[in-house]
């Protein structure tokens, strides 16, 4: 039986910014919290960190003359076509599990940081102390043991749901319809079709403007990375082999250059 693709649904309309998921993530993954700077927001840290894989972004908005937050949980999106994996040179450092989870295996990581450049969502973080890269594993250890990821297990509002991707796509569509019925005409699903679909799905009230939530508008593997790992590789490999074989054939056909009359003068 083929493994079911698992997914996480984030219904941003239900997030109350309690940050319980952040704490659960830190606890389960045994991360030590490093204090950041206070920059006049309720957000825990300005950005993800090597030891902080799950951040609720408190995106401040002015809507209808009133201040509001567009909360958005921010973590690895577990792409079907992961840019990190495409860019990674070390076999086994980034693995895509049969259930769709994209996992970093630090014991194979060499700390080059190519995955950071390959990621369309700018998620992996390089630790200056261990020289390894870290990110959300969708609690692959818990999921492998039949449990729910820590963030989802702890969410008090049902903003987060875990399950098979097929089921969650349906649930996301249903939630979108409910939001539309509530008057949010712009509601929709954010699932990164440009990267083959993500296994983290969002329901957004303002689906036409995901950048309001701190999400990229049309996430794709950067074209320079695709070119580097695609056509450039084959052109260059052909050039290396062609030159070496050409040199060999040249020698066989023409031989070495001759030095004349060394003995005469």
């Amino acid at each position: 039986m083929p493994a079911t693709t698992v997914a996480k649904l984030i219904d941003t309309s239900l997030c109350i910014g309690c940050k319980a998921c952040e704490v659960a993530c830190q606890e389960w993954n045994e991360q030590e919290f490093t204090l950041g700077v206070f920059n006049n927001t309720y957000q825990t840290l300005p950005d993800l960190a090597p030891n902080f894989w799950n951040l609720i972004k408190f995106n401040e908005q002015v809507e209808d003359g009133a201040n509001s937050w567009l909360m958005a949980k921010y973590q690895c999106m577990h792409c079907a076509d992961p840019g990190c994996l495409k860019a990674c040179p070390a076999p086994g450092a980034i693995v895509q599990l049969p259930n769709g989870i994209v996992d970093f295996r630090q014991e194979n990581c060499i700390g080059c940081g190519y995955c950071i450049t390959g990621c369309p969502f700018d998620v992996p973080r390089l630790s200056p102390t261990t020289k390894k890269v870290y990110k959300c594993s969708l609690c692959s250890d818990r999921v492998g043991a039949g449990m729910t990821p820590a963030c989802i297990r702890t969410c008090p509002t049902n903003c987060l749901t875990f399950g098979s991707r097929t089921d969650l796509v349906e649930l996301a569509a249903q939630r979108t319809e409910e939001l539309k019925a509530d008057g949010f005409q712009d509601a929709g699903v954010y699932d990164g079709p440009g990267v083959g679909g993500t296994n983290v799905l969002y329901v957004l009230k303002h689906a036409s403007a995901p950048e309001k939530y701190g999400l990229p508008k049309d996430p794709r593997i950067p074209w320079t990375v695709s070119l580097w790992k695609g056509p450039l590789k084959w052109v260059a490999n052909a050039a290396f082999l062609g030159t070496a074989v050409g040199a060999l054939l040249h020698y066989l056909k023409f031989g070495p250059k001759e030095t004349h009359d060394d003995e005469v003068h």
Binding site: A87, C88, P89, A90, P91, N108, I110, G111, C112, G113, Y114, I116, T117, D122, R125, L126, P128, K131, P222, T224, V225, L227, W228, L232, K233, V235, A236, A239, F240, T243, A244, A247, H250, Y251, F254, G255, P256, K257, E258, T259, H260, D261, D262, E263, V264, H265
Partner: protein
Amino acid sequence: MKFIERFSFAERASHWISALCFLYAAFTGLALWSPRLFWLSGVFGGGETVRAWHPWAGLFFAIALGVMFRRWAKEMQLDEEDQVWLSKSALYAQNIEEGIPESGRFNAGQKMMFWLQSASAFFLLLSGVVIWFPEVAPRSLRLIAVLVHPASAAVSLVGIIVHFYMSTMAVPGSMGAMVRGKVSEGWARSHHGKWYREVTGR
């Protein structure tokens, strides 16, 4: 057999230091070029070591090449005879000597190699510094660098394969020139006639 000094100690030292650094950077670069070549990293110290040392090898390569560049940039300028030489380079490749102008200390092909390696090293250095520090370099620069670095490396490597073939197989005597610094008079007259006459006054 009489011998002429072709490369000074400083020239040979900078050449071989850059060559060794280049070889380490090239093989470890190939290890990082594709997961299929990652096994090469095991030969050069393991993945983490390769990631740590490749940039340093590249930096020392660039410094040693910089020494060569300062020394040679002037005499590597292409003159009108070099243009003629280049237009006849197909004859040169077929070991036909008639119709090709005599070369000075460096022939036009060597001059082209010099500029090719200098230019690719320049781009390798700039993009390499960006890739070295992914957590510091801005994303926009990194996106350009991951393309520029392997592309210039490929150009450089193709050039070095030719350079290696010329020096070890195609032109016997040139390895001795770069190792011991000396060539025979006949060698100088055969391959760099103009330089031979300048040096010997004959």
